[in-house]
Amino acid sequence: MTAETTTATTSATTAPRVSANDPGRVIRLGISRIRYEVRAYFRQGDGVFFVFLFPLVMLTIFSVAFSKATFGRFPNGDAVTAADFYLPAMLGAGLLLSGLQNMSIDIAGEKSDGTLKRLGGSPLPVVSYFIGKIGQVIVTGILQAALLIAFAGLVFGVALPTDGAKWATFAWVFLLGVTTSAVLGIGLSAIPRSGKSATAVIIPITLVLQFISGVYIGFSQLPTWLQNVASVFPLKWMAQGMRSVFLPDAFKTAEVGGSWDLGSIALVCGIWFVVGLVVCRLTFRWIRKDG
């Protein structure tokens, strides 16, 4: 026993140690978390339906329900159909669902089912955990948007932009939107008191945001005061960015101020992203120490 103990002591002191301030390790584990999270995401049946496929279902409903209506004309004279009109709206909704709704419900659940407690006792850096979560949102968000765009194009014949600049706008609005949404979701996960109540607490927030941000109802149809309220939150700007990509340029006259205002989109989302990230880093706890 004594001999064994001595060997163990020596091997323990010479054994390689984990270093806290090793950025390579933080990133390597972050990437490992992304793979782990994405895999687990697609294996949970209900989440895939309510978050991942929801915008697709809504696009189908709107396109079918308003199939007789026209929403304006493209420069070549083609009618803007319900599918054309609602594709950017649903892409905006997807950003909110895949990021904010998915993350806040997911993490609140992890808090109550013991996932975070286990991770908190493991040598996983908090930053790697965040990378994993944000990465999961980006990956699932991209797949969701690709599916939505392909479906709209193939099934509803939505004319997709051919201009590279439009797609560049799409890329940055999408990436900024989805990461901002993810960060805000991580922050909001602190609000529900339990994993079970998370859905009931979070869904009303996202639903109200969608209604006042021009996702389900045209933004120009809202009263000015409500437009002003919605303009504080990032979803209005994400949806506006998506409209600038997929709707004819003439539609910008319907926007507040008569332009797509890409600069404000970047500014508002950017502020929410940075503030959200700082708040998450400062307030995130694996568990409440005195729970």
Binding site: A8, A12, A15, V18, L29, R39, D113, P123, K289, D290
Partner: protein, 300 residues
């Protein structure tokens, strides 16, 4: 703290002095002190709500203490970082993750967090989940999930392993193989802090034990000495001629039985029992609750 270090030197992995924890008016821990030496297996025993889990969770860094001192691998657990956590293995009392990953995926993922982990195959074999390695964790039985918890606790080759009621939900066979696993870890020099409700388990695995009741350590010592020599005096039990069950503690049970036989007819249901750890423990806890109720009596 300097004084503490001098008493046990560098071979102490856990040092606890006068540990206190209260939640509002409720005192969960009322001054608990013990040490665990490197390579030692220490069992913390006590009834539900006695403060075992509170103690272990303070040492794991999950809870903040209200008073006293604690050092785990030389670090204050309230300020333990990632480097410190990499040297620990933690098997929590309750886990209930959604488990949308397979056993192998889960182990491989956690192995990646440590500098020198055990092989995933090796750990799967150690806990006997070879046939379930490709099964989603949520599809496992309670006992199988518990084995995954144990596997995650040992995969990083911890210097110190915390086991909070590790064999809950195990069938007797699984418990025996778990004991084998713990003996292997002990032979490798792993220090272990164990809580359990199975006293045979504590007797099989641990070198020393502490008995905690009402937030206080009521006894501490080597597993074969706990409770004192008195508590280990053999007991003779029999049923007398009137059918009344009798028992007698005696250091010379052979002599006592001989006398019993000489005095009368063959006694019914005769047995000589050496108190097991369980008997000793139950006596200790019963004594404790009697003294506490006597202490509080005059107040009422």
């Amino acid at each position: 703290m300097e004084g503490m270090a001098e008493t046990r030197g560098t071979d102490t992995v856990v040092e606890v002095r006068d540990l206190r924890k209260s939640y509002g008016a409720f005192t969960a821990l009322d001054g608990v002190s013990f040490d665990i030496a490197r390579g030692e297996t220490f069992a913390l025993l006590g009834p539900n709500g006695a403060g075992k889990s509170t103690t272990i969770e303070i040492l794991e860094g999950y809870r903040a203490r209200s008073g006293g001192e604690a050092r785990v691998l030389g670090v204050d657990p309230q300020h333990g970082g990632v480097e410190w956590k990499a040297r620990l293995g933690i098997v929590l009392q309750n886990t209930g993750e959604t488990g949308n990953v397979t056993v192998r995926e889960q182990l491989a993922h956690f192995a990646g967090m440590y500098a020198n982990p055990r092989g995933v195959d090796e750990v799967i074999r150690m806990v006997g989940l070879e046939r379930q390695e490709k099964t989603l964790i949520r599809r496992l039985s309670g006992g199988q999930r518990r084995r995954v918890d144990v596997a995650l606790g040992v995969i990083g080759r911890p210097e110190l392993l915390f086991l909070d009621e590790p064999t809950t939900g195990f069938d007797p066979e699984a418990r025996r193989s778990f004991w084998e696993l713990i003996r292997l870890l002990k032979s490798e020099g792993t220090s272990i802090l164990l809580t359990t409700h199975y006293l045979d388990e504590a007797a099989q695995l641990s070198d020393r034990a502490g008995v905690i009741a009402g937030g206080r350590l009521i006894d501490i010592g080597r597993i074969d000495e706990i409770g004192g020599a008195e508590a280990r005096v053999p007991i003779v039990r029999w049923t007398d001629a009137d059918g009344i069950p009798r028992e007698q503690r005696t250091a010379r049970p052979g002599e006592f039985v001989a006398r019993l036989l000489a005095d009368g007819p063959e006694p019914g249901g005769l047995e000589i029992v050496r108190p097991s750890l369980e008997d000793v423990y139950l006596t200790l806890v019963a004594q404790h609750s009697t003294t506490t109720s006597l202490e509080t009596e005059p107040v009422r």
